[in-house]
Amino acid sequence: MQNAELRARAMRRRNFTLIIGLVLTAGLLLVVVGGNLLWPFGAAEIGAGGRLDSPSLTHLFGTDHVGRDVFARVLDGAGTTLLVALGTVLIGSLGGLLVGAVAGYFGGWLDEIVMRISDGLTAFPSVLLALVAMSFTGAGMWNVVWILGLLFIPSFARVARGEFARCRNLDYVKRARLIGASHLRIMWVHILPNTLPVFLSTVAIGFNNAVLAEASMSFLGLGVQQPQVSLGRMLADSQGYLFNAPWVAISTGAAVVLLVLAFSLLSDGLQRKGLRRIRFLRKT
């Protein structure tokens, strides 16, 4: 009886959000990568089936107006979207970590300037700024990646700055400084590992935002261009035959929803984990 109660309590404490998020993310990545390698139809293969065939066992998500297999296109499109998200988050998180670490660790006027600029940039929706920037550079996948990446830097920098500022005056950092560790070593070896639980959750939410941003921008025709396939582009195309072949729009949209859901659950779970760790550290 008591045992059962203990087990129930442990179950309640288990981080289900994180588990579901991890499983969903891993599953989707596996399907996208494995599917791109193994699925018998190519994304650009015209006439793989009839025109606008409804979903069947051969064509899981049916076919589009020129007989291309929609499942293959969703896989390819999701791959592109994830690649854009990966590039964006890499630029954003590394840039943000660098800027935020310096600003948070050293503080002072540098911190003030960096944070005012980031306040200004985060006041506007990043997709909007990216769209405007597209008018200078022109559309295209790599332009989306670096522009969105740069625009994501402030939000990552804010989190990194907060964490580094929190750790800067902790006892163990002071001791490291007394021993004579350099600033670089303190930031890299002593503080960085402690910021990771919080920072990782921001990275997951970054993926979430990047997938949404890519979908919106490509949907508007200002992101990934033909002949490349991305989920946003496919949604834009699917609108033309929403009446005859709703499965194209629905399966593409469902892919976006699943990806976003996976990353947001992952982020929530990681955040919960980070909070527990901080609470635990405070108790000991």
């Binding site: 006041a123 506007f124 769209l131 200078f136 979908a215 919106s216 929403l242 629905i250």
Partner: protein, 317 residues
Amino acid sequence: MRYAIRKLVTLIVTLFAVSLLAFLAFSVIPGDPAVLQLGVNATPEALDALRAEMGLDRSVFVRYFEWLGEMMSGEMGQSFAHGVSVRELVGDRLIITGSLMGMGFLMTLGIALPVGVLGAGGTAGRCEHRPLQGILTGVTQVMMAVPPLFLGLVLTFVFGVTLRVFTPSAFVSFRESIGGYLFYMLFPALAIALPKAAMVVRVIRSSVRDELRKDYVQTAVSRGNGPRAVLYRHVLPNIAVPVLTFAALTLIMMITDSIVVEQVFSIPGAGRLLVSAIGARDYPVVQALVVVIAAFVMVVHAVTDVVARGIDRRIVF
């Protein structure tokens, strides 16, 4: 009141700074507007003539003040691509986009406030209606992941194509019929509102949950307040400011959503003008719309600050 006036002054100063920044950003970009308009094969004389006509031969600052004058008079500059004033291109578009966002925002609040407060769950540390709570958590989590552009497609498919409640892409201008216009905007606004409402519900529920852990709630309970009284009289006033701030944020996020949703429902709003101007590199149009959007964003931030201070006098900025 003094706070509001101080905010107003700051707002005007920042607006000038932003307009200058926007103007400079668009004048340092590579690419000569005259070449853009006449093509690379144009004669140098023709280019010079056009530059003089567009006023590009004068200094940046003279042009800035001229442009600022035009922005304030409402003409908003000349379009490269169409050769008419931006004002003419914009027409009713800002009103349309504004009303779309307004409807979306009202719907967001209309859905989120009751659902969030009623779904906030047990007061005084108890969790009421566990299964219902779980369902609500699941629904909001999924709803948050649905991008408005996909929700727009789904709504078009369900209510436009299948149930024929409205005719897709048969936009009715408010100049023809206010009722028809509002009815056509109902589904676009819903496409914007539902995901945002889910986010607001989440914020309300988690703020209530955090608030219930605090000591003053225990005190309120021990003084004989029932669960309803604790929630409405003690907890809700305390979470009003964070929820308001978040709601204002969703209003700003709706700018991008409405650009996308206008495309989905073929609504002739400012968003579609912006997208086509970006595609055509029609810089004066982009520039004018950017300044309008920036002004909107800053006004929303300022109003939020003033209202938040009105609710909670402890706030100092």
